[in-house]
Symmetry: C2
Subunit: 344 residues, 2 copies
């Protein structure tokens, strides 16, 4: 990856030199560095140059404000996804309550295994098992009941390693990046394989992203009336959007209707979103977060040749596609001064 | 409908009198009337009072800016829907091109009838026929191809009565209303039974509503790669969201994730959206546009006891529900000084 193709841009070398000169002048802004948790490495330079180029009127790389859409994967991109997705933990924690209501499930797999409390057996459950658990724990209640349950869980559940609520395990450099894009007229979206209704509960508080800018895996709802005559929506066990892989650009088209200018992910589940963004022509930025910091967080994917997760991770093939395409790889180890806001 | 229940609000009489006093003071703003195409009737007073009450900090009726969501039906609410929805005309106009590509359809109904050009026979087509026509003319191409075709049609097609592009048949009072809400921190959405991809093409230009704030009937798309290796999305004949009736609150939950504070519609297809909005508690405004102006536009629904449309119109039952609930009815004849921007 040479400095000439660090992002897709339509302007010539002379313009690039002109911009570089301008950028040097911008170092006077260093006192108010918008990305203080980022080391002054290649990734940060690419980001700052891209934002400057796309928001400075008159440049060929300029992007009108209405088109400044930046989409961010959540799990592993904005917050910790290991050892297991937080929302899957929520669903596992919900199983006892569901079995209490529906005792016939107690002796049926995979619920039997979950009820056993055997952590190793639970960790060995297959994707199909998890899907059964998700279907049973995320549907059949009103959207308001779901919200109340999830809020309670988010308030009380703690990550076993950091002993903190999951919503504190947000990457501080990414919070700064979201704010930096927004303060430059970008509309920031989460585009997650996780449940849309789940992420929307805390997205505003945690990321500054309103619910209507969260695209995620989504089930159907059904409109009906309560005994009091008041209308309400029930969560149905019918999947409308599986917002992973090809589902990400499809979900972006459905929910946003514009091709992003910026996309950030960390796994094979984000590949199509990054490709789709990059293929839009003009100024585009596709970035991948590489989990290569075994000390401060986790190392997996090509960095450490750890076993791949079931759903998708940062494979060597993805790394090669990023390098060959000119996408930007963010090394957690090298590019980030700190990982979490609660760390010094 | 008394003045006390013109919209749902949680504050007491004393506060209401206080507000009314403040409103009197606001008449100084009359020089810059934000709704110049509205007569000074009940509807306008309700709207101005509601906006003032929900945006004035400290009032019990105050709504934080993040929650100010206003949803508008399109056909018959923002633009003319008679004698037939514009998008259906687009689909009918597309039939010859589709039959040319797929000659086997020429002798199959309903395509045979459409190809005959017999306007009366076309007008008699059933909903199932129209659905077949929509499926064939709106799917099977890339989203970019669809956009290019629709843009061409929107530029060239003319309404037979006003001899103007359909995108000029927007109700001027509603354009002012959209701007008025937006200038008071409301996020305006279109929530239409029409095709989301179709409306998104002109929503920004015509209504000032960006594509990501258009919720409509939506089909699935499929991600794939062209011969050049570039990814693209194909429109598939699979309906994800039928954004009519109960589909409107369901679509709002899917695409916005918040209950609207304001909803405006004109037909039974909007009933559930208006109910759902109204049932949210706190400050809410549900409004219905009554087509009672046979001279300047059309009169249908209870105003003239015209035959009801196939898809839904303003029935007597809806009128009664509006009156009993305390929703606001907007009379095109009495509340609007003018209908279109091109009229004096």
């Amino acid at each position: 990856m040479t400095s000439a193709n660090y992002y897709r841009r339509p302007f010539c070398k002379a313009a690039a030199i002109f911009c570089a000169t301008l950028l040097l002048g911008v170092t006077a802004q260093a006192q108010t560095d918008p990305l203080p948790s980022w080391n002054d490495g290649a990734a940060k330079r690419v980001i700052v140059a891209f934002v400057t180029d796309t928001t400075t009127a008159g440049r060929p790389s300029f992007v009108p404000e209405a088109e400044r859409i930046a989409t961010f994967d959540q799990d592993g991109t904005l917050w910790v996804e290991k050892p297991i997705y937080s929302q899957v933990l929520y669903c596992l924690d919900r199983v006892p309550a569901v079995v209490k209501e529906r005792p016939e499930l107690a002796n049926v797999e995979p619920f039997k295994t979950v009820m056993s409390g055997n952590r190793e057996a639970i960790a060995r459950l297959h994707l199909e098992d998890l899907e059964k658990i998700l279907a049973v724990t995320l549907t059949g209640m009103s959207v308001d009941e779901f919200r109340a349950e999830a809020v309670k869980w988010l308030d009380s559940a703690r990550d076993p390693r950091w002993k903190r609520p999951y919503t504190e395990l947000i990457y501080q450099p990414m919070k700064e990046l979201l704010s930096y894009f927004r303060s430059n007229g970008y509309k920031t979206y989460i585009v997650t394989g996780g449940g849309q209704d789940f992420v929307r509960i805390y997205s505003e508080r945690v990321y500054g992203i309103p619910p209507e800018q969260v695209v995620g895996s989504a089930g159907a709802t059904k409109y009906g009336y309560g005994k009091d005559g008041k209308p309400f929506l029930t969560k149905e066990p019918k999947l409308l959007l599986n917002d992973n892989n090809a589902g990400k650009p499809e979900g972006i088209h459905l929910m946003i209707g514009r091709r992003p200018v910026v996309a950030v992910g960390n796994s094979t589940g984000d590949r199509e979103m990054l490709e789709y963004t990059w293929a839009g022509g003009g100024s585009r930025l596709s970035m991948l977060v590489l989990h290569d910091d075994a000390v401060r967080e986790y190392a997996y994917g090509p960095a450490q040749a750890l076993p791949e997760s079931r759903v998708g991770t940062f494979t060597q093939a993805l790394y090669d596609e990023a390098t060959n395409s000119g996408w930007t790889v963010i090394s957690m180890k090298n590019d980030w001064k700190r990982i979490f806001s609660f760390e010094p």
